[in-house]
């Protein structure tokens, strides 16, 4: 039978009082564990960290060629080419500034602005995501090739007009005609 008890005692049980040797064990153990976790997180960060940049930022620095990065851009719908037999997708993204107050508007402006920087994206092995449409926000991980094409390994998409409230068109037209 064990000596431990279930009731809460207000006086410490003699067998459970810590001596300085055991306390040292605890401290050393704690420090070692902290160090182990810190090492785990830091090494994970070093190997997994990628810069997250806009297309302008990507193209501005020639050192970015060959570097594993994450970029965001606005999808130009008419540029999407999909080889469904081999699961190869090619499309163009236009630059979206990093800080925007109205994301949907910024995406729209990026795609319609002839002066906005653009790059081609090439990704293989992925089924074409349903959200890959005109003016969608694409977040891609990958590498910029020497040929100026961005070879993506990961593609995430956000719906452009999700949760944005836009005015009902017919109501606006009706108002304009004075109905």
């Amino acid at each position: 039978m064990t000596q431990a008890t279930w009731e809460k005692n207000s006086t410490p049980n003699a067998q459970t009082r810590l001596n300085s040797g055991e306390r040292l064990k605890y401290i050393v153990g704690g420090v070692l564990m902290l160090a182990a976790v810190a090492y785990l997180i830091v090494s994970g960060t070093m190997s997994g960290a990628r810069y997250f940049m806009t297309i302008d930022e990507l193209l501005a620095d020639p050192d970015n060629v060959g570097r594993s990065v994450r970029i965001s851009g606005a999808v130009v719908g008419e540029s999407i080419v999909y080889d469904s037999a081999n699961l190869i997708i090619d499309f163009t993204v236009a630059n979206v500034p990093s800080e925007t107050t109205d994301l949907a508007l910024a995406l729209h402006q990026a795609v319609t602005d002839p002066n906005a920087a653009r790059i081609s994206v090439h990704i293989e092995g992925e089924v074409k995501p349903d959200l890959l449409t005109n003016e969608a926000q694409a977040i891609m991980s990958g590498t910029l090739g020497e040929d100026g094409v961005f070879y993506a390994t990961e593609l995430l998409l956000k719906c452009p007009s999700r949760y944005e409230e836009s005015v009902p068109n017919q109501a606006e037209e009706a108002a304009a005609t004075g109905a």
Partner: protein, 694 residues
């Protein structure tokens, strides 16, 4: 009509919530007048009543298709099925925030009703904290994200959005609203998505109650285990809903997003995972305070950390803090939510430190040996907190800090999480296996080792089964072994308890099990939950390490081979129109194994002609068994030559164990929450001693 009723009700709820805070604190702390405190309590009930009216107004507006309300217009449309019309209540920001506030007022009313008499000292402060949080969320709905705003046409012809009519404005023509109504986002038109948000909200909101009682304990000075006892069942319920919400989210992603996976380590997923990590640590850690009066400060930090993480999660998700496929559009609620999170975290931490400095959070016992149960629980806390830090760092810490201090944003993707979290999860499973055989106060490796012999043997036998099936991957076997050991320990400890009862009470096995569980529901419910977690773990290892995939273009009648299966393309049904207006192209395929037809699947592509932004959806067809999922996506077909279609096929081994394991988890939580059979105290003690010695 619904807009006016709803808005008025929300406004009254806000007022009564503020009243409850003021009157409870003033009546309890400053003038010690019972009538004021009672009035504060009644205000809690009144707030709940008003919020019920408010949410019913919005729900009725949705069901009766009142498109003059901007919210109804933006999340529903005439051709939507009734089920989704109802669930559109949380289809977008404003509605889901109001739903949050409603749930919060409901939980606050419930906690007050059930505990008023037994916890008179804690209640007034608990009410103050619960209503402070409720008032904040009601306030968000009132002042920033108002679901009761309507469309108006101004005299100058432009369109405006407001609750009450601007001067000279008129309502738009109903026909225009009807035709232009946006409808629920197609991605949300899935059964799983319809219950995943409410489950998640119930989980999040549920953690307000233990938080409020903990804060009340700190504020009132009643630092006994009262606050833990009174909030225990709420914590279990909240934890269950949060677990369910996370698993349902994964299931939805698996069914509808078409990448063959269920967890992407996306910032919003991780934001919801963080409170779960701290909440699970808290669930375990409070046992120590109840049994041995230890870890008082830890538990305060854990319970407050859980709710703080909840508020942070909803802030991060709704404010556009980090980029995620889930995020809502940036809105005006970002800064107020950040402020709320900061204030509540600051006040709670300050209160803990204040009480600690007065010596009121001292442990009753110092620590026992390093292998005692309480030490293992501390290690458990540590691992959960380490996981929390690792996940927080990956999704939020690194991007935010790098943006502030380095002027460029560093992001960490799935590869970071898959490198950093597995060792910690393994450690958790090891603890799950070892802790149940440990004892309070003393640690004896020999004793623990002997108690684990049979579970170890059973684990080796189970691994033998895997090896016989052809598994040779040492890493996977190691992972399976650790996970299985935790499960076998839980089962074996239950069996030992049953055997002791059968001997001493001469009961049948079933009676012994039932009596064992009802005498100590938390322990045996907990073991049941551990079995569920074990099963989920096996499913995760199998589906992550051994997933197979292939893609082929097939002509009608052709087959592809994968993993011992054959899949034959039979037919394409084009242009099928469903009742909610979507147009479906359905491929019919047959799955064969060893020449025998085992399944007919219908992977398809849906088109939504009316929806904005996203117009198509890929719905997989899958054949699910315990062994694996045979999961097929219709990638595309040649429109001109409809004889050929491209398919992507995944085989996900053991993935259904995840869903089944979660059902066991739910049942276990319900067992754990059962009221203990009431026995006289001295009899109960004898039984506990018998259990321990057996």
């Amino acid at each position: 009509m619904y807009a006016e009723i709803g808005f008025a009700a929300t406004l009254f709820a806000f007022v009564t919530a503020i009243y409850a805070i003021v009157v409870s604190v003033y009546g309890e702390r400053f003038v010690r007048r019972e009538s004021l405190v009672i009035s504060g309590r009644n205000a809690v009930y009144t707030t709940f009543v008003f919020m019920t009216v408010s949410i019913l107004a919005l729900q009725t507006a949705l069901m009766t298709e009142d498109y003059t309300l901007t919210y109804v217009w933006s999340v529903s449309s005439p051709d939507m099925p009734t089920f989704f019309r109802a669930t559109a209540l949380w289809g977008s920001q404003a509605g889901s925030l109001l739903f949050w506030a409603f749930l919060m007022s409901m939980f606050a009313a419930g906690a007050t009703f059930f505990n008023w008499k037994s916890q008179r000292r804690l209640m007034p402060y608990a009410i103050a904290y619960m209503m402070a949080s409720t008032a904040f969320f009601v306030g968000l709905s009132l002042f920033i994200e108002n679901p009761f705003e309507r469309w108006w046409i101004l005299p100058n012809g432009s369109v405006a959005q407001a609750t009450f009519a601007p001067v000279g404005a008129s309502l738009p023509a109903l026909r225009d609203l009807w035709e232009s109504a946006r409808g629920l986002n197609p991605l949300l038109r899935h059964f799983g998505m319809a219950i995943h948000p409410p489950m998640l909200y119930l989980g999040f909101v549920g953690f307000l109650i233990p938080f409020a009682f903990a804060m009340s304990a700190l504020a009132s000075g009643d630092l006994s285990t009262n606050w833990i006892k009174v909030s225990r069942r709420w914590t279990l319920v909240a934890w269950m809903f949060l677990s369910l919400g996370l698993i349902l989210g994964g299931r939805w992603a698996y069914d509808v997003l078409g990448w063959g996976g269920y967890w992407g380590w996306d910032p919003v997923e991780n934001a919801a995972f963080l409170p779960w990590l701290i909440g699970t640590a808290y669930l375990h850690s409070v046992m120590i305070q109840e049994k041995r009066g230890m870890l008082k400060t830890w538990n305060m930090f854990l319970v407050i950390g859980t709710f703080s993480a909840v508020v942070f999660a909803t802030f991060a998700t709704r404010s556009g803090l980090v980029d995620s496929v889930h995020s809502f559009a940036r809105s005006g609620i970002g800064f107020p939510m950040f402020l709320f999170w900061f204030v509540l975290t600051f006040i709670s931490v300050w209160l803990i430190l204040w009480r600690r400095s007065r010596g009121e959070l001292k442990d009753d016992h110092p620590f026992g040996s390093i292998f005692s149960r309480e030490s293992l629980f501390v290690l458990n806390n540590f691992v959960f907190v380490a996981l929390f830090v690792a996940v927080f760092w990956g999704s939020f810490g690194a991007p935010i800090i790098s943006e502030i201090f380095m002027n460029t944003e560093i992001t960490l993707g799935a590869d970071y999480f898959l490198q950093v979290t597995p060792p910690l999860f393994i450690l958790l499973y090891i603890l799950m296996g070892v802790a149940p055989v440990s004892a309070w106060g003393v640690g004896s490796l020999v004793r623990m080792g002997t108690a684990m012999l049979i579970p170890l043997a059973l684990t080796v036998l189970s691994l033998g089964v895997f090896v016989l099936q052809g598994m040779t991957n040492i890493g996977a076997l190691f992972g399976y072994g650790i996970v299985l050991l935790a499960g076998w320990v839980a089962i074996f400890e239950t069996y030992r308890g049953m055997r002791a009862r059968m001997r001493s009470h001469h009961e049948s096995p079933l009676a012994a099990l039932v009596n064992l569980t009802t005498r100590n529901p938390r322990r045996y419910g907990g073991y049941f939950i551990h079995v569920g977690i074990t099963i989920i773990g096996i499913g995760v290892i199998g589906s992550t390490l051994f997933q197979m995939e292939t893609q082929r273009t097939l002509a009608v009648g052709d087959s592809l081979q994968i993993g011992g299966y054959e899949m034959r393309y039979d037919n394409l049904l084009e242009g099928q129109i469903s009742e909610d207006g979507r147009v479906m192209d359905i491929a019919e395929v047959t799955v064969l194994r060893n020449g025998e037809e085992i399944a007919h699947l219908r992977p398809r592509r849906d088109f939504f002609p009316q929806a904005e932004g996203m117009q198509q959806m890929t719905i997989a067809g899958s054949y699910s068994t315990l062994e694996n999922d045979f999961y097929v996506l219709l990638v595309n077909w040649e429109a001109i030559n409809a004889n050929a279609a491209t398919f992507k096929v995944y085989i996900n081994p053991l993935i259904n164990l995840i869903w089944w394991g979660s059902i066991i988890l739910i049942v276990g939580t319900m067992i754990a929450g059962m009221p203990r059979e009431s026995l006289p105290a001295h009899v109960r003690e004898k039984l506990q001693v018998v259990h321990q010695g057996a």
